[in-house]
């Protein structure tokens, strides 16, 4: 173990530069977001991930955000275990009828102010699963959504671009 730890000390880090912030995400968030976030939360956000019916592809890429290449926590973003500790709900999947209540209750357990980020094509409108008897629709069909990150699944870079938009509200105002 010592050898591995020592190697990590002398090697250059694998962590890559932050990607550019997604313009579409900034536009969607708008200026109202800036005032509240900056005042209440500074530049740190706690994220609670909720799988509302995904195929688990989005979860794989969200998990990848914590690996050495993307190192999510350097941006002040971190995943928390309880919605009661969260500022942001990161919701994946079409919302299944069987998860509808659980998602709604998780949303209500999250203290205000809170934001919902819908991740993946299914989370927008149900994606390939739209129209099924077992699917309520996209995340927006059950809780209000502030930001969509498209992709099937979105790559970690795309998810990061979307999440960083949450932390860069001053640029949103200059655009608006």
């Amino acid at each position: 173990m010592r050898k591995l730890l020592f190697e990590s000390l002398i090697q250059a880090p694998l962590t890559e530069k932050a990607p550019a912030i997604d313009d579409a995400a900034l536009a969607e968030l708008g200026a109202a977001f800036e005032r509240v976030v900056r005042r209440r939360l500074g530049r740190s956000l706690s994220i609670r991930q909720v799988d509302a019916g995904s195929c688990n592809g989005c979860e794989l890429e969200i998990n990848a955000l914590s690996n050495a290449f993307y190192d999510l926590e350097r941006f002040g973003l971190r995943f928390v275990a309880s919605p009661r500790h969260a500022d942001v709900l990161l919701v994946t999947g079409p919302v299944t009828q069987n998860m509808r209540e659980a998602l709604d209750r998780t949303y209500r357990a999250t203290p205000d102010p809170k934001w919902v980020v819908a991740v993946g094509d299914c989370a927008r409108d149900g994606g390939v699963f739209a129209g099924s008897y077992a699917v309520a629709g996209g995340v927006g069909a059950v809780v209000p959504v502030d930001l969509h990150i498209p992709g099937c699944p979105p790559s970690p870079v795309q998810i990061l671009q979307g999440l960083l938009a949450l932390l860069a509200p001053e640029r949103a105002t200059t655009k608006a």
Partner: protein, 504 residues
């Protein structure tokens, strides 16, 4: 005489069912099959419904034979398998929920996938509209002095899929775990009905996101079997390359995540790097990190480019250089071994009874691997071994993954060296009327079964996708018994069953 071949003479052979026979049988033959399952002479590969029929896929492991038995259920009932063979319990409950067919004398009559929230009963059968009425679920009792219950989920603390676990514990010790699943039921088999092949392949590839390649492969092979065609040689080899890359990425991720659940984050960090390298190599080679939609009926959608080959070769070099050090780290860290050795033991007799596939079966003495048997191209031409252990604990499941990583690295090197040229996709012929196909393919988690019927116009009439998790989830309940509640995440991760693949 094998345990299947005599049964095959007792029914009417379906004309257009490939590659294995399917026969329509009466209740007496159905019962003989159930008894043989109960006696351990046959293994249940799947049990699924249609509006007026129920099918059962059987494997005779000794003879290496596979067959499907079908029984008429136009009366709305069929003889249950579960009184003879408990692994059928959840499958019967799912048939009842989806098709409304009643398993007679079933061991468990509670609903399974249907939580009373669909607004329709028997959605794939008579589809009777209902008001949404979630009824309280009757968990199985655990009785005794000072037992307490711990309900967990469906929303869990980590970044994982939803499901409910009900622990009955005596102090720290788990007396009974009962799973309640179905939360991510999306109705995939309902969406499949009437879908054209392009859409159906997309749906199949999204059954369980971590097995996009394995599902794509199983679905494509079932279509090709139904149509009586073969994909071109280069496509077959590229499919195997994708499948082994997927296995590699998932095993790297799992090995790290299991160690992380034992609070050893160093392994997690290093395995996470290797997983990311594998996904990037896949992206460079095939244009998508999870290789989603890369396998299509008739072949593959993307060819391997020279930069892709370079990326995969770089991955092999890095893995071969770094992985041995990680194995050593795992093997020599006493505090980690203390958590994994002896926890979550799955007894070999249970693994055999449930026909558990993948690392769950292979860590508990069941060596079945669909790449070997029934086997499919190009694996008979490749050199690899199927690792097996019989200690059945978390540690054994880690070691099976470690050995499989080594095998997959070897397989990828062989495939790159011998990859044939030529076309990557063949045009699909017109369906010769109604025809049925089936495939059994080895995903990283175990064998995936796909059974389907095409109508005369080349659309899906019925498609059933059976995830390996169906026969692994119930075993997790057995493996956790007598362990402490705090070891559940560790045991659960070592099984790493799919919620989405199971719930469909």
């Amino acid at each position: 005489m094998s345990m299947l071949s005599d049964l095959l003479e007792e029914g009417r052979l379906a004309a257009q069912h490939r590659p294995w026979p399917r026969i329509d049988v009466d209740a007496s033959v159905w019962r003989v099959a159930a008894e043989r399952l109960g006696a351990g002479q046959l293994t249940l590969l799947g049990l699924w419904g249609e509006p007026l029929r129920v099918h059962m896929a059987l494997l005779d492991e000794a003879a290496g034979e596979i067959a499907v038995l079908s029984i008429d259920a136009s009366s709305g009932r069929f003889p249950a398998i579960s009184p003879f063979h408990p692994p059928a319990i959840r499958l019967e409950r799912a048939i009842k929920d989806l098709f409304g067919l009643e398993p007679e004398a079933a061991m468990d009559r509670r609903p399974w996938l249907d939580h009373g929230r669909w607004g329709v009963a028997a959605p794939l059968g008579q589809a009777v509209a209902l008001s949404v009425s979630p009824a309280p679920y009757a968990f199985l009792p655990a009785e005794g002095e000072s037992l307490h219950q711990v309900p967990v989920g469906p929303v869990h603390a980590g970044i994982i899929e939803p499901g409910h676990f009900r622990f009955s514990a005596s102090g720290e010790t788990v007396v009974r775990l009962e799973e309640r699943l179905g939360y991510v039921h999306k109705g995939i088999e309902g969406l499949m009905r009437g879908a054209d092949l392009e859409r159906a392949a997309k749906l199949a590839g999204r059954t369980s996101g971590d097995s996009a390649v394995a599902y794509g492969l199983a679905f494509a092979r079932a279509i090709e079997a139904a149509l009586g065609i073969e994909a071109p040689a280069r496509a077959i080899w590229l499919r195997a390359l994708m499948a082994e890359l997927e296995r590699l990425a998932n095993h790297f991720g799992d090995i790290g995540a299991i160690c992380n659940d034992a609070s050893f984050s160093l392994m997690h960090a290093h395995c996470g790097v290797l997983r990311e390298r594998a996904l990037r190599a896949a992206s460079a080679a095939f244009g998508h990190r999870l290789m989603r939609d890369c396998i299509v009926p008739g072949g593959v959608a993307v060819d391997l480019s020279p930069p892709g080959i370079v990326a995969i070769e770089a991955l092999l070099r890095e893995a071969q250089q770094r992985f041995p050090g990680l194995i050593e780290l795992y093997d020599n860290t006493a505090s980690l071994q203390d958590r994994t050795v002896g926890s979550g033991v799955l007894r070999p007799d249970l693994a055999a009874q449930y026909g558990a596939g993948g690392y769950v079966g292979r860590a508990s003495g069941r060596s079945f691997d669909a790449r070997r048997r029934p086997g499919y191209a190009p694996y008979p031409d490749l050199d690899f071994t199927v690792p097996m252990r019989s200690d059945g604990d978390v540690n054994a499941r880690v070691w099976i993954r470690i050995r499989e990583v080594e095998q997959s690295l070897g397989l990828i090197a062989q495939i790159l060296k011998r990859l044939p040229g030529g076309p990557i996709r063949t045009a699909l012929p017109q369906a010769p009327g109604s025809c049925e196909g089936m495939a059994l393919c080895e995903g990283f988690r175990g064998d995936i079964l796909v059974w389907l019927r095409l109508d005369g116009e080349g659309k899906i009439e019925r498609c059933h996708l059976r995830d390996p998790s169906w026969f692994q989830w119930p075993l997790l309940e057995a493996a956790i018994e007598g362990n402490i509640v705090a070891d559940f995440p560790l045991c659960n991760k070592s099984f790493n069953c799919s919620y989405s693949g199971h719930d469909l």
